[in-house]
Amino acid sequence: MKTRLIRWITWVAILTGIFLSISIFSLIIGTSDIPFRKIISVIFAGRGTTEYSILFDIRLPRIILAFAIGGALSLAGVILQGMFRNPLVEPYTLGISGGAALGVCLNIVFHLHRIFGVLTLPMSGFLGAILVIILVYSLSRRKGILKIQGLLLTGVMISFISSSLIMLIMAVSRTEDLHGIVFWIMGSLEEPNWVLIKLAVGVSVFGLVVSYLFCLDLNALSLGEEEALHLGVNIEKTKRLLFIIASLVTGCSVSIAGIIGFVGLVVPHFVRMFIGSDHRILLISSFLCGAAFLILCDTLARTIISPLELPVGVITGILGGSLFVYALIRKQIVLGEK
């Protein structure tokens, strides 16, 4: 048992190491390579140089945003998979991204961002996400009890409805609007606004801290709801709170960076395969792993065919999906019923 604690600490150290080295790698690589030893002199030289602004105005914000969003999406994935005891649930299965995308589409089509400023784009995305969450949540409640399986089905259906509505909007919208919609839906971590980046970091770290308070309840829930109740977990309150946290971090991520799929699905699985399914370690290591994974994907997305840039969702999909299939063949899937 002592050895388990040591093992956990080792894993966190390893993952932090991976995360930091990927961050540094991402900082030095790009259209203009800035070697690692030069970074220090650039920092000392201070503002004004081209290198300084490449590092601290272009690359660093992306890394920080990727950290926040990768972490948030994986965290939401762990929470939802643990709660639903279903390995295929990810933040987007619940219709959250559909709602956010619909909100942003409506904003673009009605030119709200031109009238009220660019910040209304993430705001309308967030509003869309929240509305869908409230809808899904209230539809799956029966007599004050949250029906988990109903929640999943309603979410999937609402996802379909909103993507159909988005297609409808795209079909009738003008070309320049269409470009904006497609760009947003593909997802990007380029975000010039520091306020939004700080907000994303704040929300995802807050999500991690709050959900960590429920790690034992999540462990109990992995045995089924009735069993969790026998172990003294207030399941209705716990489910409600965890659902709200997962929705909040996802809604926030989607509204800032657009739709970046697969992180919330793949990362928790990987972590579970290698580290185990105890949520006391799973939550924190998924967060770190997701952050590192998204930074890596984003670095690839902006360097592979540089100076052009690929949508980061393409990389997460291809890389995450194929790694996942490979791992599945090698190792048995570990969550869910036999």
Binding site: M1, L213, E226, L229, H230, G232, G276
Partner: protein, 266 residues
């Protein structure tokens, strides 16, 4: 210990249990028997707060269970379910989950005391040697023992068991019921067991509650309840009741259709 008064409950609008009144003494070993669908499991679920009763109250040590906190109840009542939803964890980790109700706020790691209690439960159920194995790869009988170990790790005053011996061979049936009996005798643990096997119920329980169609049909010691007239009426099956030559408790023999016809034609 446990007092159920005027309990009516069910799922949605369908009422399953009607007017249940049971009083369980401290240190008692009570068996709940009855045909399929008679409400045995529902009764257990009403005691553990899984379903809210339509009417009536359940008192545990004099207090209404619905007035108690979730953790407070879980410290007093532990449940051994029929089977577990398998998850990738070791037997020891699984048993340690039983300490969850005892964790303090902001306590994330188990203390040495928690580990000692879990190890004691593992030794008591004779599963200590399995502690490093995955919960997925142990046999059905071992799994039932591990479930009991987890329940004991909760350090309950009342243990509820939902058909602990189904799907098990006689070795494990006897092993598990002997264990419950021993705990009941030695540590004074009160236990309520739902049992399908009438002969096991007769052999191990001090008192039996016979449920039929959601109502209590008969309560009493095995010799009173396991009367052939009562059993034939409730189970609608022809049986012969004799005494077990060793323990002299009632033993129920079934009579097959072939035998019944042969007897009638005589």
């Amino acid at each position: 210990m446990l007092e159920i008064r005027g309990l009516f409950c069910g799922y949605d609008s369908r009422i399953i249990l009607q007017d249940i009144n049971i009083s369980v003494e401290d240190r008692e070993l009570l068996g709940i028997i009855g045909p399929n669908g008679s409400g045995k499991t529902t009764l257990l679920r009403a005691i553990t707060r899984v379903i809210k009763p339509g009417a009536g109250v359940v008192f545990l040590e004099g207090r209404d269970i619905w007035q108690m906190g979730f953790k407070e109840l879980a410290k007093k009542v532990a449940v051994v379910p029929q089977d577990l939803i398998a998850n990738l964890m070791s037997v020891e980790e699984f048993v340690l989950l039983g300490r969850i109700p005892h964790y303090r706020k902001f306590q994330f790691l188990e203390t040495n005391k928690d580990k000692e209690i879990a190890q004691k439960a593992l030794k008591l159920t004779d599963t200590f040697k399995l502690r490093g194995r995955s919960i997925l790869e142990i046999s059905g009988g071992e799994r039932q023992l591990v479930l009991i170990a987890r329940a004991l790790t909760q350090e309950p005053r009342l243990l509820l068991l939902d058909e602990p011996t189904t799907h098990l061979d006689i070795t494990h049936q006897v092993r598990i019921l002997d264990l419950i009996k021993r705990l009941n005798k030695e540590t004074g643990l009160t236990a309520i067991m739902v049992l399908h096997d009438l002969n096991l119920a007769s052999e191990y329980c001090q008192r039996l509650v016979l449920l039929n169609e959601g109502k209590i049909h008969r309560v009493g010691n095995p010799s009173d309840v396991l009367d052939y007239k009562i059993i034939e009426e409730v189970y609608r099956t022809v049986v012969v009741v004799q005494r077990n030559p060793i323990s002299s408790r009632p033993y129920i023999f079934i009579v097959s259709e072939e035998e019944r016809k042969r007897r009638q034609s005589l």
